[in-house]
Amino acid sequence: MDFPVFHLDVLGNRGLIAGIAVLHVLINHGLAVGLMPLVACMEWYGHRKRDARWDALAYRILFCAFIVTTTAGALTGVGIWLSVSLVNPYSIGSLLRVFFWAWFVEWLVFITEVCLILAYTLTWKTWREGAAKRRHIRLGFALGLFSWITMAIIVSILGFMMDPGNWLADNTLFSGFTNPVYLPQLAFRTPLAATMAGVIALVLVPFFVGRDDPFRREAIRAVAVWTLLFCPFIVAGGYWYYGAVPEAMKDNLAVSVLTLQFSGWLDEFLLLVVGTAIAIVVVVQVAIVRPGLVPRTALVLPLLAILWLTAHFERVREFIRKPYVIGRYMYANGLRVDDYALLRRDGLLAYATYSNPLTPAEQASVPAALPPAERAAALDRLQKGKDVFMNACSRCHTTHGVNGVADHLHRMFGNRVWTPDLTGDYLANMHNAQPYMPPFPGSQAELGFLSTYLEQLQANREPVPGAQQAGITVRPESGSKLAVGERR
């Protein structure tokens, strides 16, 4: 606990990461990994058929992808790591130590990808004939390959976070990289990216080819064939992927697919997912058999559907691995499984360098009429409770915002007073009742401090600022002990 705690008390830290990460995945899969090979195929197809219309269409679609991937795509790519580093620096630190060389290679591949997309776009108009055109088409396929390699490396890290496999025993990069979830997830994401690219291109074609141009039907039909071609592989990859997910995580499926409140609706939701997937296939089938019958608005339906399905898949993947952020190695609160015995013995705060000062609203929860010594002791207990909350809970929970602890306590205890006795018993055993929750990491005394802090949330609805707003103080006790990571 060597870092000040960044905290967003309305949106929630998870909301920040999810917003950036989902946007990046949609751009990366749809406009880079999937679309670059599709554009190269369109260019190659037009070249083989000696039909310049394909060339013009491919260039326009590429230009859209170029603008989005090099702006929003690149920014969100960096944004993921920045936001994760802010919210959970311990998990990103562990991942960096394990995947250092893989990440280094990924960085080189990414730089190459950026150079290739620049070269591919900027030479389109000049490398038009003969050998130059063939070279340009090869450039397009190379760009597609490098886009895929960047995803292939990152997918390994995502798989590792779900199930590190043999890495827990031998701690080698090879074991971490070839984790049990890696290849199944890659086999799912690759055709998903290709299909998503096809769906995006289907929406773009009518913008670039006029309604009365017969080429519009030809282009829609060809892109629809590309889209449909990869659909069976998504199903096969998804089946393999689901089989590779550890059984303990599948117990979280209902809550991860929906939320705790709606977890009883899993069957209905899965039917909605199946219906949405069928709707995508149906529109694409009609686009192949009768491209002239499909209006532009109907082509937007598969796009919205696949964007929603992919975004929701990412949500499920993120949640299902709870209570861990790195399977069986680190809990979602950033604390290592192996450190728990130590933290329970010495207390969490013994290793916390920084303290998040109490807000005026929090201070006001302690009666001003108390004798000064008693009030100072009460404020000290509250301060310790807040520090426990910030270190053990705030990575996933807010106080009253998204996934707020107050809402959960209200659901469980209603309007009864949230006394430390009432909430303390629950906090001590919550991981047994709700397997996606990590066990409480601190000492028995700290459980009491946290319960005291939670009690005042029943009346105090003021948002709790993170270190980025309220600043921090250095805990006076922090100098007496080494940080957890330094004791090994």
Binding site: A52, D213, R217, V225, L228, Q285, V289, P291
Partner: protein, 130 residues
């Protein structure tokens, strides 16, 4: 008379209407075993028709040798067959009054139509040689 002339205007309208009526009838009878038998037989017959059309397209003298064009001949039929199987699964696995069962019936009818409907031939008008 207007209905007859509407059906005569395009050769595929008759089979499409037949399929819709067949699925409606099977749905109203509500016997899953009967639906499975008749449905499977209908798929087989439609698949044979689709196979003949695809073989003819492959043997056509003006066919393209490019992979996309070959895939485009086989993919719609193969997909429709697969989706018919999904539809039958939805029908068989869910009770008659459920949303999933109804979705299966609609999908089954749609995919049968996809099986019997010949693809539009792409027009080559307006090709500008690059």
């Amino acid at each position: 008379m207007r209905l007859l002339s509407w059906m005569d205007a395009a050769p595929h309208r008759g089979p499409v209407l037949n399929i819709v009526m067949l699925v409606l009838l099977l749905g109203m009878i509500g016997n899953t075993a009967l639906l499975l038998c008749v449905g499977a037989a209908t798929i087989a017959v439609s698949a044979i028709g689709g196979l003949r059309r695809a073989m003819r397209a492959m043997a056509s003298p003006d066919r393209s040798h490019l992979p996309l064009d070959r895939i485009a001949i086989w993919l719609p039929g193969a997909t429709a067959l697969g989706m018919c199987a999904v539809a039958l699964l939805l029908i068989v696995e869910n009770p008659a009054s459920s949303v999933a069962h109804s979705l299966g019936l609609v999908l089954f009818a749609f995919e049968l139509v996809m099986l019997v409907l010949p693809s539009e031939r792409p027009s080559t008008a307006g090709v500008s040689k690059g």
